[in-house]
């Protein structure tokens, strides 16, 4: 029995004909990809569909995978392209709704829950306002499959230093965003 750990070995083996090993790949990345897609489209069903497409596409094109890169980089690149394509085609349908989250899974007091919902809404609203590249950087950074700055740079085809610079700036922008929101609220409250 050969124990295979590295993605690259699995890929090689699949390409040699052991296609059933693709299941290992799916096991490893399905949740990560789903979450990443979900954070962009904010709809469970769509993210399930798209994730499925990502894996089928990856399987179909496995022989084109350049082995100098990390496999996960390639996979997230496919996920990114598929999702952006989808969003482009269904611009009107993808209206980012916030109602998709299970309330019951949060075992908290109502006050805390409301506060959490607000933070969540803030974050998603903020993400919606980001330009495409910043959005990708942020969402890729927050995937379960530990994506490094270097990988993000490869996926987005830009220098790593720019990725970092942009990534750090996103949080400054978030704080600005929150401050401005707070200001607006105060103004409205005063009836101005």
């Amino acid at each position: 029995v050969i124990i295979i750990n590295e993605d690259i070995d699995i890929v090689k083996s699949i390409l040699m004909g052991n296609t059933e090993l693709f299941e290992v790949i799916v096991n490893r990345y399905e949740i990560g990809i789903q979450r990443y897609v979900y954070n962009m489209v904010r709809n469970s069903e769509t993210s399930e569909d798209l994730t499925q497409e990502v894996f089928i596409s990856a399987y179909n094109k496995l022989y084109t995978f350049n082995r100098e890169y990390k496999f996960s980089t390639w996979l997230f690149q496919i996920a990114k392209n598929k999702t952006i394509d989808y969003i482009r085609k269904n611009k009107k349908k993808v209206d980012l709704e916030y109602c998709d989250i299970i309330a019951s899974s949060v075992d908290q007091s109502p006050e805390n829950f409301v506060e959490l919902m607000e933070t969540k809404n803030n974050i998603f609203e903020f993400i919606k306002c980001l330009n495409e590249i910043d959005r990708q950087i942020l969402l890729l950074r927050y995937t379960k499959n530990k994506i490094t700055f270097q990988q993000i740079a490869l996926i987005l085809n830009m220098p790593e230093s720019s990725v970092k610079k942009r990534y750090y700036r996103i949080y400054d922008r978030y704080e600005l965003f929150i401050n401005e929101k707070q200001n607006l609220k105060t103004l409205r409250y005063r009836g101005e």
């Binding site: 927050y142 085809n157 830009m158």
Partner: protein, 423 residues
């Protein structure tokens, strides 16, 4: 480690984007410094929230693993999915093509005898066609148009004499006289010694040959006209009552449309607070600063430049207004005016407005240009519809000195409304 340094490194700490020695230093600092600890905790909380919302929180997504596997298994031999044979064919395509070619050639030679030349031609078409089938290009990461920067003007100040094209090679514009030139060279060499830490370079104003930009320490005026290329003025803010590193007071500028004069003041965010900052008029060509008002809260929006009707020479009258007073200044005669002369009219600078949120521009006709720019600060100037001027940081953040920047001229051809460019 000093607090200032600690605070700037907090973001890097959490992304494990620092050397291990620095991390140890930071860990030591944190246990001794309460205010830094608080800032550290704040950042941690922010990151935890993002992590929770984007990664940890459970959402209602079903795994479709079995569906995926089934789908793949069902179509495994239908031809669209590569199976073992196809893969082998692909990896051994050289041999495969060779065999096909050999067979083909033998066939051709056998059938047509001497007419090998045209047969070889035919073979080469065959080869390209076969490659087309096998070599599917992987999906490209960035689909947008990638415009090519046209003749970037690059200045790197540690190599200044090598790179600048002006006759003296000291980085100073040819329009500057020898006395001022000496002074400017001195200033540059002083600035070269300063470390970074005074904020990014931001554009104040740019017209089709001159550009002014500043950080919190200095203002630099640069002429990018081919013949006059170089710096023509530098102003250090140290001796002026402007700006502030803290609070909401920020330094504010308004340039005359010809780029010869600059109004410098301080925008005090909170109204009704007496500002102890002054308003200055700076003559860029003669490096002369004149304090024209005290206790002034300047907003560039409330500065207007007037010029003689039908007279192209720069006889400027400038007015600046805050909530308490209005300053009216005759630039040419260096004196305050009671009221606006009747023979002048307002000169409006041509402008494109930058929307910081999504980096799009709106011009005065309401046209919107979307732009995604990397490694550029948020200020640009459209020289014309196809050319963009930007100040760029130097990419390498190590050993970065205050003076390291690039003025870049970029040609953008915008077809999709969204342009990605990189130098």
């Amino acid at each position: 480690m000093k607090c200032v340094k600690f605070v700037t490194l907090i973001p890097n700490y959490f992304e494990e984007d620092i050397a291990s020695e620095v991390k140890i230093e930071m860990d030591n600092h944190i246990s001794n410094c309460k205010s830094c600890r608080e800032k550290f905790e704040e950042r941690k909380e922010l990151l935890d929230t993002f992590k929770y919302v984007l990664t940890d929180e459970e959402i209602q997504i079903k795994s479709r693993k079995y569906e995926i596997i089934n789908n793949i298994n069902n179509s495994k031999y239908t031809g669209s999915i590569p199976n073992k044979t196809f893969y082998n064919l692909y990896t051994k395509r050289g041999a495969f093509i060779g065999v096909v070619a050999a067979v083909f050639l033998m066939f051709v030679i056998f059938k047509y005898g001497g007419n090998v030349y045209s047969a070889a031609n035919q073979y080469s078409t065959n080869k390209t066609e076969r490659n087309k089938v096998v070599e599917n290009v992987p999906e490209k990461a960035v689909p947008a148009v990638t415009p090519v920067p046209s003749s970037p003007i690059k200045i790197k100040f540690n190599e200044i004499s090598k790179e600048l094209l002006n006759p003296t090679g000291d980085g100073i514009s040819a329009t500057v006289n020898s006395a001022s030139r000496k002074k400017l060279v001195e200033m540059i060499s002083k600035m070269k010694e300063l470390p970074i830490g005074v904020g990014p370079w931001r554009i104040i104003y740019c017209n089709n040959e001159k550009m002014m930009f500043y950080n919190y320490g200095h203002m630099i005026a640069y002429n990018y006209n081919e013949k006059e290329k170089g710096i023509y003025s530098i102003l250090a803010f140290t001796n002026l009552k402007v700006g502030s590193y803290q609070g909401s007071q920020i330094i504010n500028f308004s340039s005359s449309p010809d780029g010869n004069y600059l109004i410098i003041g301080t925008l005090n965010g909170e109204q009704n607070v007496t500002s102890n900052k002054s308003l200055y008029l700076y003559d860029l060509n003669n490096a002369l600063t004149k304090e024209i008002a005290t206790n002034f809260n300047m907003n560039a929006k409330n500065v207007t430049w007037y010029n003689n009707v039908g007279d192209a020479s720069s006889k400027w009258v400038v007015s600046a207004k805050d909530d308490k007073s209005t300053v009216l200044w005759d630039v040419d005669n260096a004196k305050a005016l009671e009221k606006l002369p009747i023979d002048v009219k307002e000169i409006v600078k041509e402008n494109k407005f930058l929307n910081y949120e999504d980096l799009s521009f709106t011009d005065d006709k309401g046209n919107i240009t979307k732009l995604v720019a990397e490694a550029y600060i948020d200020t640009y100037w459209f020289k014309d519809n196809n050319t963009l001027i930007a100040v760029q940081f130097v990419e390498n953040m190590e050993n970065l000195k205050l003076m390291d920047f690039q003025v870049v001229e970029i040609n953008i051809s915008d077809k999709t409304g969204k342009v990605t460019f990189r130098p």
